[in-house]
């Protein structure tokens, strides 16, 4: 799915946070010359920015507060990645939310990239309620712009931490639509535009796509520091496996260039990657995962 690219030839890093790896992988998936809609800050925006810096110079992105094609002032604080002056800097256009929604509605926004709190086998996303709505459990933040992005961008890339509780057979609440129940035409019957839907899921351990027939999540690639079995074991449902034995790609680790740019221009204080992220180190000819103390500031928006 990702395959070879400039990263395959570049000097590999030997020490990185899992979330840094995830951002680098998502960046390699970015298609040059397309327009992205990134909701909120963190991984989605970093991936597009990193790709633009290294692999996809002609990619542009919009944000739901009306920013089109910005050249943001980096670095910016992860608490201030949306609806703030620095990320809107040097845009080609400032409009408003309905203006961005219109552009998405008519199809100018090719890709969406989203963080997902809870995701199921058909790419449905829950960011509304964990538990039994609304009588037991925990209220979360709502879809925000994610429902629009998931409904109307042509291709949706989801980012999430690789944790069993994130991958559930059926989300507690569909906040933003994937392939719904996976049946043919399900999105159309719900009123959503044609030729849209989840395209990839990028975690700190693996990359998935969706089987074109069954619309079920399918494993495409794993990190060099985990096994296919470990990836599947840490999910609440069993993904399909792409191709036959051996067709699951092993992803290249981050390159020194990727990390240098990410660390010096984006996550300069480690606020993003330090949250809920292990450290991965190349020692004694093999990758080892190390616990790292978590200093949580959270992603605030």
């Amino acid at each position: 799915m990702i395959g070879k690219g400039p990263w395959s030839e570049a000097t590999k890093a030997t020490s990185f946070a899992e979330r840094e790896f995830q951002v680098c992988i998502a960046a390699r998936l970015v298609e040059n010359g397309k327009c992205y809609w990134v909701a909120g800050g963190g991984g989605p925006m970093y991936s597009v920015l990193l790709a633009k810096r290294l692999y996809a110079p002609d990619v542009i992105y919009v944000a739901e507060d009306g920013v089109v094609g910005a050249e943001p002032m980096l670095p910016f604080d992860p608490v201030m990645t949306l609806a703030a002056a620095r990320p809107s800097h040097r845009a080609v256009m400032w409009t408003n939310m309905n203006g961005i929604g219109d552009q998405c509605g008519v199809g100018y926004l090719d890709y969406g990239v989203l963080n997902a709190l809870q995701i199921d086998a058909y790419g449905n996303i829950n960011s509304t309620w964990l538990g039994s709505y609304p009588v037991e459990g925990r209220r979360v933040n709502g879809p925000g712009g994610a429902d629009t992005i998931a409904a109307m961008c042509r291709r949706l890339v989801l980012m999430t931490d690789h944790q069993r509780r994130k991958f559930v057979p059926r989300v507690d609440f569909i906040s933003s639509p994937g392939y719904l129940d996976g049946t043919p035409g399900a999105r159309k019957r719900a009123g959503l535009p044609a030729d849209t839907g989840p395209y990839a899921v990028v975690t700190n351990w693996a990359v998935f796509d969706f089987d074109p027939q069954s619309r079920h999540m399918r494993l495409r690639a794993v990190a060099p520091f985990v096994s296919v079995e470990a990836v599947i074991a840490e999910m609440g449902f069993k993904p399909l496996l792409f191709g036959s034995a051996g067709d699951i790609e092993v992803l290249d680790p981050p390159t020194e260039d990727e990390l240098r740019i990410f660390r010096s221009e984006m996550d300069t204080r480690g606020q993003f990657t330090d949250t809920a992220s292990h450290w991965v180190v190349w020692e004694n000819e093999r990758w080892t995962m190390v616990e790292k103390e978590v200093i949580s500031t959270g992603v605030l928006i």
Binding site: E64, A85, S88, N96, N141, G142, K188, G191, L192, G298
Partner: protein, 329 residues
């Protein structure tokens, strides 16, 4: 499609403000078209124009260009049973809920956390489910004077079930199409860079849906960093975002978006931003409100006693470097 009728395929069960554009027109008919000064304090504006039970919409959030001062004043005055239009907002709904001001909210985006979860589980708060754009689409319908708009999202979600949306056969294609009801809030709170005493208003930079909110709402309260002369509006009419006659109150409120950013005027205060987010996330909003809202009688005291001149000067300094001229046109 049966030729002369359109089937309704599904309907959300969420409550929504009654859709009645003619009633809204009766309300706009009463507003004064004359240019008369509407300058007043935040306290007066909230007292006069926010009633218990009102549906309140605000632009935009507590992080940037939000009507933070007006929201705090609502909490100080202990308004009750408000219905919050929580599209693309952040911590303010949790603050209103914890302060006992709010018992219903339309969800686009706001920080859930302890106060909101507790209120829902204790049935002190009912939430109806939309998304940011669906909410701005509803405001757009309200601002157009129509009853609904078709949209191409929300369908297929569980949110649909707890919303006022319907899935109908499209009158032109026969395909399933989602429609959402127009929203005409009782009150809009809008913080801008510049206004005149009559209510003509300019805001610079990106924005969410302030024009829609102003046109769609029964009562419109503008707070402004700066009060400028009407001559300036006549000099560059293309910069006017909101015309005076939709506005009911104009509040001169420097640092009215604090702790958020006012692009081109001042930066946000990250320490405060982290403090208020942490208060919501760790369910300590009451203490936050004691410290930052109830402890002072008004916004002027908040600025002079809690924020201080040095901090304000620093925030103004930090706003430079973002291309200030971009925020003057």
């Amino acid at each position: 499609m049966d030729g002369k009728a359109l089937r309704i395929l599904a309907e959300g069960e969420g409550s929504y403000l009654k859709v009645d554009p003619d009633a809204f027109r009766s309300c706009t008919a009463q507003k004064d078209r004359r240019m008369r000064s509407k300058l007043m304090t935040a306290a007066e504006a909230i007292q006069r124009y926010v009633a218990d039970g009102d549906y309140v919409i605000w632009e935009i959030n507590y992080l940037q260009r939000g009507p933070a001062a007006l929201l705090r004043e609502i909490i100080r005055q202990q308004k009750r049973r408000l219905w919050a239009g929580g599209k693309f907002t952040w911590v303010a709904v949790a603050m209103l809920v914890e302060a006992g001001c709010c018992d219903r909210a339309d969800m686009g985006f706001f920080v859930g956390g302890g106060p909101v979860t507790r209120a829902v589980l204790e049935k002190r708060l009912t939430i109806y489910e939309y998304s940011n754009l669906v909410m701005t689409a509803r405001l757009r319908a309200g601002a157009m004077g129509v009853t609904f708009l078709p949209i191409r999202s929300l369908g297929g979600t569980d949110g649909f079930k707890y919303s006022g949306a319907k899935l109908i056969e499209d009158p032109y294609t026969g395909e399933p199409t989602v429609i959402v009801p127009a929203l005409n809030p009782d009150v809009a709170l809008i913080h801008v860079h510049q206004a005149d005493e009559y209510g003509n208003a300019r805001a610079f930079g990106t924005n969410i849906s302030d024009v829609e909110a102003a046109l769609a709402s029964r009562k419109v309260i503008i707070s402004a960093e700066e009060i400028i002369n009407t001559e300036e509006f006549r000099h560059k009419p293309g910069l006017t975002r909101i015309p005076y006659y939709v506005v009911d109150a104009v509040v001169h409120q420097p640092f009215g978006a604090y702790p958020g950013e006012m692009p081109g005027s001042y930066a946000s205060d990250p320490a405060h931003v982290i403090e208020v987010f942490g208060a919501v996330a760790r369910d300590r909003v009451k203490a936050y409100l004691d410290k930052w809202v109830y402890s002072v009688a008004n916004e002027e005291q908040l600025l002079s006693q809690l924020v201080g001149m040095a901090k304000m000067a620093e925030l103004r300094r930090r706003a430079s470097g973002v291309g200030l001229e971009a925020y003057r046109s």
